[in-house]
């Protein structure tokens, strides 16, 4: 699972097909006086919002696990160096 690449795919800019802008303007003009209602657009928006929330959450977990791994590495190096010095001092 690669949430970052999925997020990039979802948010990738896609050029509209030719004539899209004209059709939108005509449709908006035709629907201007109709009452607003929830439809597929709202569902898509909610789905996109949910996906972004999940992706951001996944990124947070990924960062935390990376920090945990770095903490273990840093502590390992620090302990090795201090233990080595202690050992050398005791040996002499």
């Amino acid at each position: 699972m690669n949430l970052e690449s999925e997020l990039r795919d979802v948010l990738r800019r896609v050029d509209p097909p030719p004539g899209f802008a004209g059709r939108v303007i005509r449709r908006v003009g035709a629907d201007f006086n109709r009452p607003a209602k929830a439809g597929p657009t709202r569902a898509r928006a909610l789905a996109a919002a949910a996906l972004i929330t999940i992706a951001v959450g996944g990124w947070g977990v990924h960062e935390t696990l990376r920090a945990r791994s770095e903490l273990l590495t840093a502590m390992r190096i620090a302990s090795q160096k201090v233990a080595h010095v202690q050992h050398e001092v005791n040996r002499r």
């Binding site: 920090a67 770095e70 903490l71 590495t73 840093a74 502590m75 620090a78 160096k81 080595h84 010095v85």
Partner: protein, 171 residues
Amino acid sequence: MRNIIMSILLAVPVTAWAQSARINIDIPQSLAEKATETVEVTLDGPMLRLASKFLSADEEEKDIRELARKIDGIYVRSYEFDAEGAYDRSIADRIRTQLGPEWKRIVTVQSRMRENVGVYTLPRGDTIAGLVVISAEPRELTIVNIVGPIDLDRLAALEGQFGIPRVTKHE
């Protein structure tokens, strides 16, 4: 209002404590490019606290978590090289010159292998407020800076954990 003032007054000494033990261990990028293995860790603030919470409660990570919970930051730069003399030893000297008179050199180990390891602490009363380890070996340069109270004996005792054998070198 009183709570805000108290919070500020309590925060100031903690910040001053943390700042005085922090040194600049920024190493030129060109050194990392020459190294065969590079470890660069900068962990402090909320990310350090979060990372320590993700350590498990089992025997292996419990001690690490206990130490990590008390410190304010840990910074490590470690570079390994294929050949001897691949890095400028004056880098270690430049790090050392940042340590003012308040820093105490615990010990310096200089061996026949031309290894030079120095351990420096920043004492605060009965505790240690910061630690710097500078290890300059023929094929390896390692700098460690820990900010905050640290127990050296407990830190050294961690060696041999992490699921790997002890790696203390013997000449």
